[in-house]
């Protein structure tokens, strides 16, 4: 049958010449490429001692933001979880009790908020879906591990610190999300 794409190759069974049968030219050709690379600039860096610069709006590990008064923004509305194409986000909502007003901004909050980092594809749809300015991707690289269980990031890894110096700056990322430049 005639090929539709004209990209198929015709296989030939022609005999190898003597030089080809020696394989030496091919071996030296390969070694030449190998040695050439030894004198080139390395493409890798030894992370974490050395770190590469990221783009201003790099999409790395998530953060759950607090507001200026240190209260968690997240109200466990579930829009990030329904927007997530990888279904990485799960949460359990709870009602804020009396005396917790300084911890949570609204009467409902996320008791548990888990992101499965093995499922997450860092697409940023969660931050776009968030109506409460709560979740952002940051320029931090999500930490690695040898065990799969450790990749389910819970609130203690996701929520930023309450002190001003432990806050995570997401102003560039926030601007990018609002302007639609993902």
């Amino acid at each position: 049958m005639q090929s539709l794409t004209n990209r198929s190759k015709v296989v030939s069974n022609k005999q190898l010449s003597f030089a080809e049968r020696l394989y030496l030219p091919a071996i030296f050709g390969g070694l030449r490429i190998t040695f050439k690379h030894m004198f080139k600039k390395k493409v890798t860096v030894s992370y974490p001692e050395q770190q590469r610069d990221h783009g201003r709006i790099y999409r790395g590990q998530h953060v759950l933001k607090r507001d200026e008064q240190g209260r968690e923004n997240c109200t466990a509305c579930g829009l990030c979880a329904v927007a997530c194409p990888a279904e990485a986000i799960t949460m359990i909502a709870g009602e804020r009790k009396k005396g917790e007003e300084h911890l949570y901004r609204e009467e409902k909050y996320a008791v548990e908020y888990n992101i499965n980092m093995l499922r997450c594809i860092f697409c940023g749809l969660c931050e776009e879906a968030c109506p409460k300015d709560a979740i952002y991707l940051t320029d931090r690289i999500a930490e690695s591990n040898y065990e799969r269980g450790q990749f389910i990031f819970t609130k203690d890894k996701l929520v930023e610190g309450i002190e001003q110096d432990k806050r995570i700056d997401v102003s560039d990322r926030r601007k990018a999300v609002r302007n639609g430049a993902m």
Binding site: G78, V82, E95
Partner: protein
């Protein structure tokens, strides 16, 4: 029988039918309704979102009606011509009404348990503006306790009066109602923690917004993470036909079945609604009909039926 033309579609309906009911019989471009409820007598005429333009009164008196009319309370006349979505005036007026409904609404959808099945949410999405022009302080209320099963959020109420009609028509004694008048009116009970009638839970189903919600479902999940299934049981007090809202194998909530217009198909009693939350209490009929554009059908990748080809393979 009178013939009525709505948006250039003519239909013949029995005398005394309202324009809204005639439009529902046609089935496309139906005016929205926030307060009208076909199963409750005397409902309608309050929210004004169902406004339509009558361009020809009837065959006998072809003059147009001078103002937009509420289609839920206006009966059709023979030869009447109505414009709904084809009239820019109606769209404009409805936009204004939606803005008025949202004037005091807290817009706390991320917290509200009704989000995802809220008629006001759909309505503002369809007609409203994305931003509020209202600059004054919204009405807020101290939260009052009206019982251990029903949660009242007066801030979200749009005063449609459906819940008072449920109490009046389904229960022997109404113990809650609308207090005060005009801008300061509010839903309240005469005595705190008083709503405990066996049919009182239907207030939750008829409420078009999140003002009355199920306390046993409060903050448990979001409607789009639950999977609705039709089920029934032999109930001595009600029809026993319900929708079970599953999350995994757990029944989080029981509601009545909703028809195409978001109205209850049959009212259910509080025993069915609040006390029977085990699968063994029910005979499961199958997945509930959910509009595929609804957020409730999001992320449910499982098919509601078995593929015919699979069945064929099994039989061979």
């Amino acid at each position: 029988m009178p013939k009525v033309t709505i948006d250039d579609i003519t239909i013949e309906v029995p005398a005394g039918t309202t324009i809204l009911e005639a439009a529902r019989q046609i089935g496309v471009n139906v005016p929205p309704a926030m307060c009208y409820y076909s199963k409750l007598k005397g409902s309608g005429g309050k929210c004004r979102v169902c406004l339509v333009k009558v361009t020809k009164g009837s065959d006998r008196d072809p003059r147009p009606m001078p103002k937009l009319v509420a289609s839920c309370r206006t009966a059709v006349m023979d030869g009447m011509e109505v414009r709904n979505v084809t009239s820019p005036e109606v769209i404009e007026a409805r936009r204004g009404v939606v803005e008025f409904l949202l004037v005091n609404h807290p817009l706390d959808c991320p917290i509200c348990d009704q989000a995802g099945e809220c008629h006001l949410q759909d309505l503002s999405y369809d007609h409203g503006l994305s931003k509020s022009r209202y600059e004054f302080e919204r009405r807020t209320f101290e939260r009052i306790d009206i019982g251990d099963k029903i949660q009242l959020h007066m801030n979200r109420c749009i005063l449609c009066y459906r819940c008072t009609q449920v109490a009046e028509q389904l229960t022997p004694e109404r113990v809650h109602g609308v207090l005060y008048r005009g801008e300061v009116s509010e839903i309240s009970t005469f005595i705190e923690q008083a709503v405990d009638n066996e049919m009182s839970g239907n207030m939750i189903d008829v409420c078009p917004v999140g003002a009355l919600t199920d306390k046993t479902f409060r903050f448990k999940s979001r409607v789009w993470f639950t999977k609705p299934m039709y089920a029934h049981r032999d109930c001595p007090t009600c029809s026993g036909k319900v929708t079970l809202w599953y999350q995994g194998a757990e029944v989080l909530r029981v509601t009545s079945r909703k028809d195409k217009w978001g109205e209850s198909e049959g009212f259910i009693c509080n025993t069915c609604r609040f006390d029977k939350k085990q699968t063994i209490d029910w005979t499961i009929e199958g997945p509930a009909d959910v509009d595929r554009h609804s957020v409730i059908s999001q992320n449910h990748y499982e098919l509601p039926y078995e593929l015919p080809v699979n069945q064929k393979k099994l039989s061979n």
